[in-house]
Symmetry: C2
Subunit: 468 residues, 2 copies
Amino acid sequence: MRHALLASLILAALPSFAAAQAFDSAALADAAKLRTQADSDSGAYGLVESLTTEVGPRMAGSPAFDRAVEWAQGKFKSLGYDRVYLEPVTYPVWRRGHERAEVLGPFPQRLIITALGGSVGTGGKPLDAEVVEFATLDALKAAPDGSLKGKIAYISNRMERFKDGHGYGPAVAARGGGANEASKKGAVAVVIRSIGTDSDRMPHTGMMRYAEGVAKIPAAALSNPDADLLSNMIRRGKPVKIRLDIDAGLDGQKSTYNVIGEIRGRELPDEVVVIGGHLDSWDLGTGAIDDGAGVAITMAAGALIGKLDRAPRRTIRVIAFANEEQGLFGGRAYAQAHAAQVDAHQVGAESDFGAGRIYAFSAGVDPAARATVDEIAKQLQPLGIEYRVDKGGAGPDIGPMAKLGMPWAQLAQDGTDYFDYHHTANDTLDKIEPKAMDQQAAAYAVFAYLSAESAADFGRSPNGEGQE
Amino acid sequence: MRHALLASLILAALPSFAAAQAFDSAALADAAKLRTQADSDSGAYGLVESLTTEVGPRMAGSPAFDRAVEWAQGKFKSLGYDRVYLEPVTYPVWRRGHERAEVLGPFPQRLIITALGGSVGTGGKPLDAEVVEFATLDALKAAPDGSLKGKIAYISNRMERFKDGHGYGPAVAARGGGANEASKKGAVAVVIRSIGTDSDRMPHTGMMRYAEGVAKIPAAALSNPDADLLSNMIRRGKPVKIRLDIDAGLDGQKSTYNVIGEIRGRELPDEVVVIGGHLDSWDLGTGAIDDGAGVAITMAAGALIGKLDRAPRRTIRVIAFANEEQGLFGGRAYAQAHAAQVDAHQVGAESDFGAGRIYAFSAGVDPAARATVDEIAKQLQPLGIEYRVDKGGAGPDIGPMAKLGMPWAQLAQDGTDYFDYHHTANDTLDKIEPKAMDQQAAAYAVFAYLSAESAADFGRSPNGEGQE
């Protein structure tokens, strides 16, 4: 990280002929204006306050998500976007009913759980069984076949905290695949330690998936303190029996929408710079950091660009994606609908990692456009953003387009606290610092504006979806 | 605070003739031994781990509280206490059933609430009404009579954070008296912002009381993020209607017990030094900091004194009080049963302010015993404990005895974070630092031992229940 910082400092200090060619003085002046305006008052915090207060939780498939679509259309319009439209996104609806758990013995007390997204319920009645603990998903995989017959598997791995959130990947495997592995061994249910870095008595939901041909068993997450409690009980050596009572399951299909707002480009209106976040949230919190913040940041950034005296050369397209949480349905629908227009996409970037300040910028573009990206990085530096050459990757919902070759950029947010709140009831407005929203909106405005204004075509991403 | 610290440093530096007379060298050696042993491994953390794991939540009147009584008896015995016995405590039983709330309009979404202890329910069906916000209890009192007819009063005052917790008193008035004041104005229910310093989506329960002759209306607390949300909705100017659905209420009387363990004094066995905490907890968390910690600290301290080669002159009496939370029932029952033996009580001290390190010591004793207390303070200094002359007050459960004249001491804990977790689901073991438990057990052991060993009689407290 130190070397990358040094490199970008040298870049900033030396006169760059390539950079001088990348943007004219009017463009650089507008970028500076956007940066200053947004960093002072971008309006982004007001947008996430509005979405969380007036809509609140908006799980894909719920009536609240329909209200969120109306909200996004209304906001794009009132913010002066030139064009506001919907694109359909269809997906299966998952429904959460009640969810209760308790230890029956030897130490009876309540446990706080939440069903994982996609899980089936316990069949309309409580499910009582002994719990067998595994330290990791791999330990569960190594259990003898049939050894969990009639039992509940409990995977207790704990997620580690990092600024870039890289503790998530290793830990979340237990959430996605725990039910399948447990079911293969004969288990009647799986519970996992929440995939989160907090120590609050609030479980983290998130998606799990059933593999073909494996019996579907209920899957739920314990809060971290409840996981500690269960492990402490099991460590005492007597069989621990728990009761799960979960009502959840799939409930048909639904068509909703990606909501799109555009600031029309002045010279190449059919070429687009895509920025956005996802409009859906989980149902437990109000979806403030995941991903009301991302929608608000990019919506505010686009609006500021729209208020410039001179629009950029290309169109700014802000997308509030539908149903990211349950399988990138919005991002995949967008890529499917726009697969033939990959070359009309200058670049895409998504904000979906909370509301912490942006500390690093990287991009995957055609090497011929590198000098332009270097200059964009330079224009982001006053916001405290480091340039990371050849790092990062595309965000989740722009991933499907990036796979088709769309250039991508990453504006990396400080995610140190992100997994304290992610997918819990604690994902609420108070977790967001208003000034951090301005810094992020400033970064998106500068990045999107300069990318849209650039004389250079960003071509195609050299590496498909980019490195991670 | 600086002056007090300076005074205690001077005290420590100067040879004190009074102190030299207070304890012989064998007593001071035993005090030092207790301090070192306890601060290294007191066993207190293991006790609170055991109580929270093997019993968990233990609300007064619940079957779990009966298990807690068995647990405490068992622990006193296995820790080698000389005498373990029960004293009866009778109280009305309050029962919590389901509790749900939601905003019906204009922005429908769920609200997270919990019923306040003692509250009635909504009568077996949901209660729908418009909410009227008041910034404080006083603002509610100032509302015109009848102005809340058919409405729900919402008191939104926020508790402030301080090391000594003095933000609690001003804020908690809304919890205790909000229902009465709202009812007098015609309201059908009251909701309050949780009395807590956190910003977690977990409401804080706690006791409320109905006044004679005032219609009983349901009373509940919103989590701090939910209170923000409701205030933000109301600020938009349209009537906000919510639904409360609460099942709660009184359910007969129950007799349970204060659980008492004694280390018998070698010369004056009928004179006692009382230390303790309360065995009951609220039902939402596992009662780790409130007050498993206090029970564990004082139980461990007594056990260490019991392991000395020479018992102190007086008896150490450790009390695990019943039903502190719903009205100091255990403390009041103790005072009633022992009112005739006030003079047999050398001093009493209670641990009921979480599990943060002890930073200050003060005592209310007969002025003739002051030199002895000064010496005890000196023996606490190596634990980082400041001496505060003429400050502090008796803890809740020893308050009724202190009112009758029993001398008291306060070992003040750092409560900076206490009200983040107090009375919430988040009151769990992970909030406790094991080494802080050792420091506290060391302080209680030194204090209790020297008080019991003292040649001086602490007489009667000069000021009844002491200053606050």
